[in-house]
């Protein structure tokens, strides 16, 4: 029976329509064979469009759907679910990626992007004409999760997973847990110290029977797929190192961040004595116990804080805001004032970002007499030595760019977050990174803790700068997502398996030799020896296809007809 197809072209709120003329795309495909409905939509994934698709499928008795929108990694499952809800087998849905592979890739060439989008949609239509109804393959999934990194995010995620009755391997490369949390003093706005929070988490951890804590352990090997990963751990001990394999259904990566280390000479760092970073300042302040605040033999009466060092860089690579550092610097200056009330604080900022409840400590700091100077983005403060003190000069945006000079005994560079310098986990799991070099989620808003690698989630600051509260939020979210991969004990996989045409097959063993999963065996059929492919062990890689001398093997959804119909369209 001839297919009845519905086509939806998404504007993606301008992400596509700013570069691709979506009306032109619609007009170019609306009269294609089998197409009985073609529409443009502002957001194909939006609730209202999903309802329209549901109604269209039912009203027009559609037997296939094509949505041209973002990458299928993002919304293939969304539109398959729409199809299912409307009573259409989800494998009759075909996705055309006209955002990542057209509008964004060719944002410099709108005509080219539009022409390409038209062909991509036509190719998807060609495939949809041939698509068949299928049932998913169900596999067993191990009810266990590896959490890599035992900082605040890893700890919260591990505890959360354990409470959902999953077996958890909490893997930490250091000999202690806590990561950067142990080095934090007052955490705003709750006024709890990092140490206190860590003690609470340690107590929670001890209560969990499902967690195996592995310190001094690094993940050095990875094989398998979602539901059944094998990780090889290198565990260091007093008598050398040993290796151990663990098997898990999902992996949650929470490897944290490093603090930005300024370059020599950056605001006088490593060149002028008493120019230090915020983490160094916190250490010194924590250990200061004399009546006067003394550093490097000098009594400190005034402190200048220079914000956004290593973040929001105009010339450097780190364009991002590190989110936590404004609050951390204001809090540190308040902690200093509590200990030494007579010290004068000067804050040289690019605009204070103590968002949400953290604004309260900014107010408190102002009330305490701290002075805030907002310097221009393109004119960072100039730090020089002057008569035994340090001079900080900057144009103040709030007083018509008038140059203001402060003399301070100590300069604190408010350094931001940078990705973990140990890149081994990213390389091992091939986790995509964004422009900021932190690990990339599939979608910031819609799939914020999933990666393109099935079964691997990310949490905390390995994904980008976050404060403690945000790290905990993302950890709980990633734990819930990893739990969803393993909790049912089984997973639905694509029913993409190979099959052999017994009439043309003359057993030669080539397909069996090529199969890495021993899924192909020789059977007697139609009076001869032929190949038989086991559906439950075939993983759908297709390695058996090109080696067959009689071209007797096809892969579901990637048949010669489907592939060649797409090639023919794209060649036009």
């Amino acid at each position: 029976m001839k297919k009845k197809l519905g086509i939806y072209i998404c504007a993606c709120g301008g992400n596509i329509s700013d570069y691709v003329d979506i009306e032109k795309v619609k007009d170019a495909v609306k009269d294609e064979d089998c197409v009985i409905l073609a529409k443009t939509t502002m957001f194909a994934c939006g609730d209202s469009n999903q309802k329209d698709m549901d109604a269209d499928i039912k009203a027009n008795d559609l037997s296939g759907i094509v949505v041209a929108s973002c990458s299928p990694k993002l919304h293939l499952t969304t539109f398959r679910a729409v199809s299912e809800r409307a009573g259409l087998n989800k494998y009759n849905y075909v996705h055309a990626n006209i955002r990542e592979q057209a509008s964004w890739a060719h944002s410099d060439n709108k005509t080219g992007a539009t022409e390409k989008a038209i062909l991509l949609v036509r190719a998807a239509i060609a495939k949809a004409r041939l698509a068949e109804s299928l049932e998913p393959i169900v596999i067993k999934s191990r009810r266990s999760v590896a959490v890599i990194g035992a900082g605040v995010a890893g700890l919260k995620a591990a505890i959360s997973l354990s409470r959902m009755q999953d077996e958890v391997f909490l893997i930490e490369r250091e000999n202690r847990i806590g990561g950067n949390l142990a080095n934090l003093d007052t955490i705003s706005p709750e006024n709890i110290s990092g140490k206190e929070l860590l003690i609470r988490l340690e107590e929670d951890l001890k209560k969990e029977k499902n967690i195996t804590l592995l310190t001094n352990s690094e993940v050095v090997g990875n094989s398998g797929n979602i539901g059944d990963f094998t990780l090889t751990l290198k565990i260091s001990g007093s008598e050398g190192s040993t290796t151990k394999d663990i098997k898990v259904g999902s992996v949650l990566v929470a490897t944290g961040f490093n603090s930005y280390i300024p370059a020599d000479g950056e605001f006088g760092f490593n060149q002028i004595a008493n120019v230090i970073t915020l983490p160094q300042f916190r250490d010194i302040l924590r250990n200061a116990d004399s009546k006067k605040f003394v550093f490097n033999g000098k009594v400190i009466n005034s402190v200048a804080y220079i914000y956004c060092v290593g973040s929001r860089q105009v010339k450097g690579e780190n364009k991002y805001c590190s989110r936590y550092c404004c609050t951390a610097a204001v809090q540190a200056s308040l902690d200093l004032k509590k200990k030494y009330p007579d010290i004068q604080n000067y804050h040289f900022t690019k605009g204070v970002r103590t968002y949400g409840k953290q604004e309260l400590i900014y107010k408190e700091s102002n009330s305490a007499g701290d002075i805030y100077i907002q310097f221009l983005d393109k004119k960072p403060p100039i730090v020089t030595e002057l008569d035994g003190a340090i001079s900080i000069k900057a144009g103040d945006l709030l007083s018509e760019k008038k140059e203001i000079e402060a003399l301070a005994d100590l300069v604190v560079l408010v350094t931001g977050m940078v990705p973990d310098k140990d890149t081994s986990i990213g390389s091992l799991f091939k986790l995509p990174k964004g422009r900021d070099k932190f690990f990339n989620e599939i979608h910031m808003k819609l799939r914020p803790v999933e990666t393109v690698i099935d079964g691997i989630t990310i949490a905390g600051t390995c994904q980008g700068p976050k404060n403690v509260m945000e790290s905990v939020n993302s950890a709980l979210s990633a734990a819930a997502k990893s739990h969803s991969f393993v909790s049912k004990g089984e997973l639905e996989l694509e029913p993409i398996v190979a099959y052999a045409d017994k009439s043309s097959c003359n057993w030669c063993n080539a397909c069996s030799d090529a199969c890495p999963f021993n899924a192909i065996s020789k059977i007697e059929a139609e009076g001869k020896e032929v190949a038989s492919i086991n559906k439950s062990t075939c993983k759908g890689c297709g390695m058996c296809l090109p080696v067959c001398p009689t071209d007797s093997i096809e892969l579901i959804s990637f048949t010669n007809k489907e592939m060649e119909s797409m090639i023919d369209v794209l060649a036009q």
Binding site: C541, G542, M563, L570, A571
Partner: protein
């Protein structure tokens, strides 16, 4: 050859190289729009007849964005994809098609810049009169 008419078909892989090509778009690393991608499960599952079909129908070049050592289906992927290219080169020669019009390179899931570099240089190669 008219510069605008150069067409390249890319066979990417769903889990490894296609995410890299997506990320090239995300990062707005531009490349010629006449580069079209069809994602397959694994680069060692590409049939030579599909590549030949692409040439027959008018593609100027075919680029296999192979899984390489990252292939989740097995370590033999690079070798098997190489064998496909070798087999197809023979078929191309028989049809009088210059073997350099089929190119293969391993691309990992984050090799966006590498992808763009490859397709741009392939595009340049195909623009040369001898191709």
């Amino acid at each position: 050859m008219d510069k605008r008419s150069v067409k390249i078909l890319v066979f990417s892989t769903e889990k490894i190289s296609d995410p890299a090509i997506d990320m090239a778009g995300l990062l707005k690393l531009h490349y010629p729009p006449q580069v079209y991608t069809i994602a397959v499960r694994c680069s060692s599952g590409i049939k030579p007849r599909w590549i030949m079909r692409a040439f027959e129908k008018g593609f100027d070049g075919v680029f296999i964005a192979a899984d390489g050592s990252d292939c989740s289906f097995g370590e033999s992927c690079t070798e098997k994809t190489g064998a496909i290219v070798e087999k197809t080169h023979i078929m191309m020669k028989e049809k009088g098609i210059e073997p350099s019009r089929l190119r293969m390179a391993a691309l990992c899931s984050v090799c966006s810049e590498s992808f763009v570099k490859h397709v741009k240089s392939f595009n340049e190669l195909l623009l040369k009169p001898e191709n």
